[in-house]
């Protein structure tokens, strides 16, 4: 239950931690825009700038004192997406020079081998630690047998790798990685309360068109606040139902449905009860929706904050100039 790592705050005292949350969020937006403005192309300019951003992000990570291991862990959930887009790009772009060409065939031998592989995967997956990597490896193996066992074939197809395809695939790969590193840098170095403050303060202009910004911010902060509480309650209910003989790990699908219900309904009931209690507690302490409220923490934008913002804006300007001129 406690292994949710994406976007978890890592306590620290680096300059990135101390940067004003509003500036950090603005800078993230500017950087993201910059990253997406760089055109997908196979000339060396954009690829080099993409690589430069990547290196810059690594330097930032190091300067914030975030362990590289944490960053890699944060990338884990998107490994699947990364590989998938990589291969789609690789095989479906057919410009430029042909590098290699593979002949695949569906044949009696290869289909047989594929079925055997899938059966083997289902049997062996519970013994393997790196599930996603293992899954990708098996998928690769599925294609490998189609390549290696063309005997008695009844259907053949070709997949060609062109140099343009390879470069575009690599480009998109780095771009997605960059985006993930940027956003996790923000969440790693900013507490949820600060993030919430930043969102509230950046959305303030929307008040002019009657959007209840402070209510949205309050909802957001309460939601974030209650995630650990509800996880804790869920764990308690899981234990209570386990004491009544529910085996959440090893059971048939038919039983699983009842088990999930035995977990969902109590958690649902508890969250309503919690919400009601919280509402009462807030009202008792004088919370009125839409009333003007003051903050316990005051944020000041300092010299460093302005310099950081200017740097990222210069960066964006540079990219736009290159794009227009190039």
């Amino acid at each position: 239950m406690n292994n949710i790592t994406i976007g978890q705050y890592i306590p620290g005292d680096s300059w990135l931690h101390r940067l004003d949350p509003r500036i950090k969020m603005l800078s993230l937006v500017v950087l993201l825009v910059g990253t997406f403005i760089i055109p997908i192309s196979t000339s060396w300019g954009p690829i080099a700038s993409m690589g430069a951003i990547f290196i810059g992000m690594l330097i930032l990570t190091a300067s914030a004192g975030i362990p590289i291991k944490k960053m890699v862990n944060g990338l884990k959930p998107i490994v699947f997406l990364l590989t998938f887009t990589f291969f789609i790009q690789l095989f479906f772009i057919t410009d430029g020079n042909l590098l290699v060409s593979f002949d695949f065939s569906l044949s009696l031998t290869s289909v047989g081998a594929m079925i055997a592989l899938i059966v083997f995967y289902n049997w062996s997956k519970k013994y393997v630690k790196f599930r996603i990597l293992y899954f990708l490896f098996i998928v690769l193996a599925l294609f490998a047998v189609q390549y290696a066992l063309p005997y008695l074939s009844f259907y053949t197809y070709q997949l060609d790798v062109y140099d343009q395809g390879l470069m575009r695939a690599g480009f998109i790969f780095i771009r997605i990685t960059n985006v993930i590193i940027m956003t996790s840098l923000l969440t790693f170095t900013t507490m949820t309360t600060d993030l919430n403050y930043a969102i509230e303060s950046l959305l303030k202009p929307l008040k002019w068109i009657k959007v209840p910004v402070d209510v949205i911010a309050m909802m957001l902060s309460l939601t974030l606040r209650y995630i650990p509480t509800l996880l804790e309650e869920t764990e308690k209910i899981m234990k209570a139902q386990a004491s009544r003989g529910v085996d959440f790990k090893e059971s048939k699908f038919k039983d699983k449905v009842v088990q999930i219900i035995s977990l969902l309904i109590p958690v649902f009931v508890i969250s309503f009860k919690r919400a009601e209690d919280l509402g009462n507690a807030m009202e008792v302490r004088g919370y009125v929706i839409g009333a003007k409220r003051t903050k316990i923490d005051q944020y000041h934008i300092g010299f460093k904050d302005i310099m950081s913002l200017i740097t990222v804006i210069l960066f964006l300007g540079a990219i736009i100039t290159v794009r227009i001129l190039g």
């Binding site: 386990a242 004491s243 009544r244 085996d247 969902l264």
Partner: protein
């Protein structure tokens, strides 16, 4: 048989450091005729201790033996069946109710342990009658009855599994005095008629003195005292446990000091009254 703890420690994994919830606990609990109270203040590891008894938690050091089954178990050994032998009732068990009808909810436990529909129904009805849930309530929703009744239904849900040892984590918390008395009477009845061992976590020293036979005191995750309640309350260093005296003993001590009635421990109000009558007749 029963439950044995052999130098058991359990550490929760923290962000960077692991901190010990319980450490070096050695215990022997017989499967019959024991009524044990586990006391100690908040955070002393009481709940962690009892969750080892039905294999919800596995010791990080040392061994627990529950009805001959070693914990932590060997690879590919299932421990789920232990939860039928050792029934654990959590704090505020009414939150675990989920079925459409009360009877169905009580049947959930036995059905998980491979009882047929009819057997489960029979066990559920028996458990419901033990905790005093009326037949007219069987088809009602468990969410439409009072809090005290919900708690009884939840307790019945564990009793219906016919466990050999019953473990209760603060069973009377949040109940009014009458609800507390009724619930404790149910546990006493089960203990006396079926001779089942009952293990109960509580903060209420009056319950300890009236019902328990043996008391286990935990202090910062270690065993501070394990023995009969008579020895605990007469312990020369009782203050070191940071526990409250039961009301009946307080009254007796006060009477000895103020009016000179000789102190002779009485553990519940009925025997206290009896004793005072005897003294006044002399």
């Amino acid at each position: 048989m029963g439950i044995q703890f052999k130098d058991v420690s359990y550490a929760y994994r923290g962000f960077k450091v692991n901190y010990d919830a319980i450490g070096h606990i050695t215990l022997d609990i017989k499967p019959q005729d024991e009524f044990i109270a586990i006391v100690g203040h908040t955070g002393s590891g009481k709940s962690t201790l009892v969750q080892h008894m039905n294999a919800l938690l596995l010791p990080t050091k040392g061994r627990v033996v529950v009805f001959g089954q070693e914990l932590p178990p060997k690879k590919n050994e299932k421990v789920n069946y232990l939860r039928q032998k050792v029934g654990l009732v959590f704090q505020f068990p009414e939150y675990q109710l989920f079925e459409e009808t009360i009877l169905k909810d009580i049947m959930f436990g036995p059905k998980n342990f491979k009882s047929t529909e009819e057997e489960a129904m029979e066990k559920a009805k028996k458990a419901a009658s033990i905790v005093g849930i009326d037949e007219s309530l069987y088809e009602q929703s468990p969410f439409r009855i009072s809090g005290g009744q919900m708690r009884r239904v939840a307790v019945a849900g564990i009793l219906a599994m016919e466990p050999e040892i019953l473990v209760l984590d603060e069973p009377t918390r949040g109940l009014d005095p009458k609800g507390r008395k009724d619930l404790m009477a149910i546990f006493k009845e089960i203990h006396e008629t079926e001779h089942k061992t009952i293990i109960m976590i509580t903060h209420d020293m009056d319950l300890v003195s009236e019902y328990a036979k043996r008391v286990i005191v935990l202090n910062n995750g270690t065993l501070a005292f394990d023995g009969p309640k008579e020895l605990l309350f007469e312990h020369p260093h009782f203050e070191d446990f940071h526990l409250d005296m039961p009301t009946s003993l307080k009254i007796l001590k006060h009477l000895e000091k103020e009016v000179g009635i000789p102190y002779k421990p009485q553990y519940d109000y009925a025997s206290l009254l009896q004793y005072l009558k005897e003294v006044s007749h002399e």
